[in-house]
């Protein structure tokens, strides 16, 4: 592997993300001052992996059945007996709170004739198969067999539900179906250290949206792994988003990577043509990352936008406004919180498909996974993780809402102005999937830096597929 330091490879002209961090009005945490991008080559990525049923089957065997993956939020199963169903391709797991301090994951199939034990999450006192009534305790041990006299060949002591490994971090439940997998702690590496300032277990799910997209799961998530597409897909954001100034952090040997996209600053594509006032005004006008119902929209008080004092910047003013708004909403003190943590898109990915955003606003989580065994479709999900007013009880998590394929994200009011932005992303995806089937070019060509996280993803994927 050839490694090059960031300053030896081409970058967008103009201020870098680190330049904006250096100009922050507050001391920036060390984890945001890290900038590293290991060179992983520039070869084309073969098209086959996006469209081939055979590739999908190999992916199930070599990746999904062996890798740590986000299954559900802990807050979704607070009481003993609460369970969620996590499904990936043909595999179905019952994610169950078995004691107040223990969560386990059982294969969701009756050991008698194989019927799925549960077809929806909820709360049960036991797992009773609807077919013949074989029943397991919620800790997976056999409870009873109807007509047990007819099963002298079954040893009740060993007729327990098979299970997957479970780990928790940040309020998320991860599972791994490989009994010999590495511990989650080594798999995630130092990712948790990055989130000590943004604890996600201290958030509740204020919104959970799911939608079937007509594209491979990798095509879906790769649309959210770079800001390069903003210039063409989201031109309305250019006046306040430093798209091409984004920083992409990639280390070959780690399972996570990161983008920091400065916001409240003009795109380099508009360099020299946008005033600070225009940055501020367009930010308010098209701002949409935090749904108004979750109290995270930056909304001006009254009709008048805030002034930018002489010598200040739109970014500093917007951060101050966000600080004041969050102070008022949560009762917490945001005085020491950096501009970056209040404005920037700081997006991590833990391989293969878990996308937690960092920062002090409502955090977004994306997840993309195959839809059954169809390589041409995927399940895409958006979670909003929000704070709640200090001293009040934790709100109940939002239940998943499936947006039908023929309904736009713009029609999901809780997404606010983010809905139309998603629609812009989604509009490309079926045509990428279709284009990859008609192209005569055997592989896709990636940008060396701006698409280096896609490169990193495939670098890791190739390792899993070759094991």
């Amino acid at each position: 592997m050839v490694t090059q330091e960031p300053d030896t490879r081409a970058r967008c002209p103009g201020p870098s993300a680190q330049d904006y961090l250096a100009a922050d009005t507050r001391p920036v945490p060390d984890v945001l001052r890290v900038s590293v991008n290991e060179y992983l080559g520039d070869d084309d990525i073969d098209v086959e992996r996006y469209i081939s049923p055979a590739w999908h089957r190999m992916e199930v065997e070599k990746l999904w059945r062996r890798v740590w993956q986000f299954a559900c939020r802990e807050e979704a199963i607070p009481e003993v007996g609460d369970h969620e169903i996590y499904e990936i391709a043909d595999d179905s797991l019952l994610i169950v709170r078995t004691t107040p301090t223990e969560i386990r994951a059982f294969v969701n199939a009756c050991l008698h004739r194989g019927r799925k034990l549960r077809t929806a999450g909820g709360h049960v006192p036991e797992f009773r198969c609807p077919f013949h009534g074989f029943t397991w305790n919620i800790n997976g041990t056999l409870k009873s067999i109807p007509c047990a006299w007819d099963f002298p060949h079954v040893d009740p002591a060993t007729f327990n539900l098979p299970e997957a490994k479970v780990a928790t971090w940040g309020g998320f439940v991860f599972i791994n179906m490989d009994p010999d997998c590495e511990p989650f702690e080594t798999f995630a590496g130092d990712l948790p250290d990055h989130f000590t300032r943004w604890p996600l277990d201290d958030r509740y799910t204020s919104l959970h949206i799911a939608k079937i997209l007509p594209c491979n799961w990798k095509i879906g998530q790769e649309a959210f792994m770079e800001a390069f597409h903003v210039i063409s897909t989201h031109p309305q954001l250019l006046a306040w988003m430093g798209d091409a100034n984004s920083q992409y952090d990639v280390v070959a040997g780690t399972n996570w990577d990161r983008t920091i996209t400065p916001q409240g600053v003009p795109s380099p594509h508009l360099a020299g043509s946008v005033t600070e006032e225009e940055v501020l005004e367009s930010f308010y006008f098209s701002r949409g990352f935090y749904a108004s119902t979750q109290g995270r929209d930056l909304t001006p008080s009254g009709d008048k936008l805030p002034e930018i004092p002489a010598g200040s910047t739109a970014r500093a003013v917007l951060a101050d406004q966000m600080r004041n708004q969050l102070n008022a909403l949560s009762g917490e003190n945001y005085a020491e919180i950096t501009d970056s943590e209040l404005l920037d898109a700081i997006n991590y990915i833990l391989f293969p498909n878990f996308h937690p955003w960092a920062g002090k606003k409502s955090n977004i989580i994306y997840r993309f996974r195959p839809y059954g065994n169809d390589p041409d479709r995927c399940i895409s999900e958006i979670f909003f993780l929000s704070g709640w007013p200090k001293g009040t009880p934790r709100p109940a998590p939002a239940k998943i809402r499936w947006v039908p394929e023929d309904v736009d994200m713009a029609d999901v009011p809780e997404l606010g102005l983010l809905g139309p932005v998603f629609d812009q992303d989604i509009a490309n995806l079926p045509f990428v999937q279709q284009g990859l089937k008609t192209t005569r070019k055997p592989g896709i060509t990636l940008a060396s830096y701006q698409e280096s996280r896609i490169r990193h993803f495939h670098y890791l994927l190739d390792m899993w597929m070759s094991r």
Partner: protein, 111 residues
């Protein structure tokens, strides 16, 4: 057991009358009064054997929870709110229910 008995449930065709506390289900009241109520899961809400039909006093029946709704759907009765599971049903006033097979526990020995 120290309970405040607030509601009367009449079971037909047996004519059995149960005094049911707001804190317990119809099934639990029957058990407390030493009546057998058909079940195979013991009143946990998973076997659906205790299903009954409310013939009067539906307005005194408590709401249908997720587990009960799932059970009623599995036996094809989700659309008829008069069909309930005794082990999940709470009542706040007089109710008449139809359920065969409810009898005193000691009568079971003769069957």
């Amino acid at each position: 057991m120290d309970v405040t008995l607030t509601a009367q449930v009449t079971v037909t065709p047996s004519g059995i009358v149960l005094a049911v506390a707001e804190t317990e289900t119809v099934f639990a009241a029957a058990r407390r009064c030493e009546y057998w109520w058909p079940t195979s899961c013991g009143g946990l809400g998973t076997c659906r054997t205790c299903v009954l039909r409310v013939s009067d006093g539906a307005e005194h029946c408590g709401p249908i929870g997720d587990l009960e709704r799932e059970g009623l759907a599995s036996i094809g009765s989700a659309a008829d709110e008069r069909i309930r599971l005794a082990c999940q049903l709470r009542v706040t006033g007089p109710v008449v229910v139809a359920k065969r097979g409810v009898r005193r526990v000691e009568e079971l020995h003769g069957l």
